[in-house]
Symmetry: C2
Subunit: 225 residues, 2 copies
DNA sequence: CGGCATCCATTTTGATACTG
DNA sequence: CAGTATCAAAATGGATGCCG
């Protein structure tokens, strides 16, 4: 049962010893937007069986990146949340996502699964702190039946699963239109004009929303295309 | 021969499909400081067999992250270098290293291998752009028989394997003392005072060197540990 | 629903031997 | 040195059954 290790005295290698196994970083990605239940995690990660999911969670728990909590009443059901150490993987995962947005996205393949939260995290990955100077606003995103909110405070952006208490603005958009935002390089305002999305709330907050996120220019990895 | 994929339309998952397999990110880490030959790569990565190394390199080549080059005369021997897409994984790897410096380092275990380049990359990971405002300097680091140089230009730091053309300052340090810098939380000036390191060159450049890198405070992942 | 155990087919890996 | 070929040992994926 000796776990595999690179046996290198190196910060990168030691980190990958902890979170480099298959599925582990995606598990952390799911938890970055808030605690999740066992079943919800499995539903988000097609191909990950219950056995491996349980093993990964236990591993992360032993290593102090995740802890098991009991959701407050009336739910009272178990769930998994990131510890402080786990939360701090956020910047690393966002850096990976940023690379992917630039070099690996393109069109959605039909066999690929999709969850709105992934795009919301993609938004966070291309959040531009400069553009948010002096801005304090909470945006709520409603995608089909899923809800997220982003809290912008000056140079920081925090994205969480679930509704906001008092959003300054609310954006409603279909899942398909959301996919189009990264894949086809569309913008939110275009989606609103075409009727695929709608927005309401504070006009000034909505005006500034456009500039908060800058999608990196897509690059081609293959020489002759 | 279908390669395994998460099949998720998500920037993080797509990136991990490309570089998430075992050894792959460490391979990129090795190449971040400049082109390397097959044998040197294998020597740096104990446990990675020639077969898997060849497979990984071929994969990265197919995916446009690495390209095979021929070293200029008199070497004329094949080597591997990062493409632009590969280079841009640097920020992601540095983010991973930053996390590791804070949450996963501690003492070196006796069975762990070590190469000076890993610490030099660790330095780059905790480079503080603010502290380098207005600074343009090239530092050469000599560690036993390995040489690196760091080029600081205002807010950017570039670290490469090999000697510099015209370094502003040169730091010589033993491998053991270098390990002590991250593990025991020592500082470079202490190492110099104790005789484990020596520095020469431009006094002003050396004075500013101290503040360029701020090691993150070590955190404890285990609750009562 | 949450979570562990078991069985089994398929991949991935690690280690070593071998060739140009 | 660079890289292939080969084989044994893990890790994974998927199905299924069980129990609180």
């Amino acid at each position: 049962m000796e776990q595999r290790t690179y046996n290198q005295y190196c910060a990168t290698a030691r980190t990958l010893d902890l979170v480099g196994e298959r599925w582990t970083l995606l598990l952390v990605r799911e938890l970055l937007t808030g605690p999740k239940r066992f079943g919800d995690l499995q539903a988000s990660l097609r191909g990950l069986g219950t056995g491996l999911l349980a093993a990964r969670l236990k591993h992360l728990e032993r290593e102090g990146l995740v802890h098991k909590i009991t959701l407050p009443p009336p739910a009272r059901t178990p769930a998994y949340a990131l510890t402080e150490a786990g939360e701090e993987l956020g910047p690393a995962i966002l850096a990976i996502a940023r690379w992917g947005l630039r070099w690996a996205m393109g069109e959605r393949r039909p066999e690929e699964t999709f969850h709105p939260g992934w795009t919301v995290l993609g938004l966070q990955a291309c959040f531009d702190p400069e553009a948010a100077a002096g801005l304090h606003a909470v945006y709520e995103f409603r995608v089909d039946d899923e809800v997220f909110h982003a809290r912008i405070d000056d140079g920081t952006a925090e994205v969480l699963h679930g509704p906001a208490q008092r959003p300054d603005a609310t954006i409603t958009i279909s899942e398909d239109a959301l996919v189009g935002l990264t894949g086809a390089g569309g913008t939110l305002s275009e989606a609103i004009r075409s009727g695929a999305a709608s927005a309401s709330g504070d006009r000034e907050a909505l005006r500034r929303l456009q500039g908060l996120f800058r999608l990196p220019p897509a690059g081609s990895r293959k020489p002759a295309g």
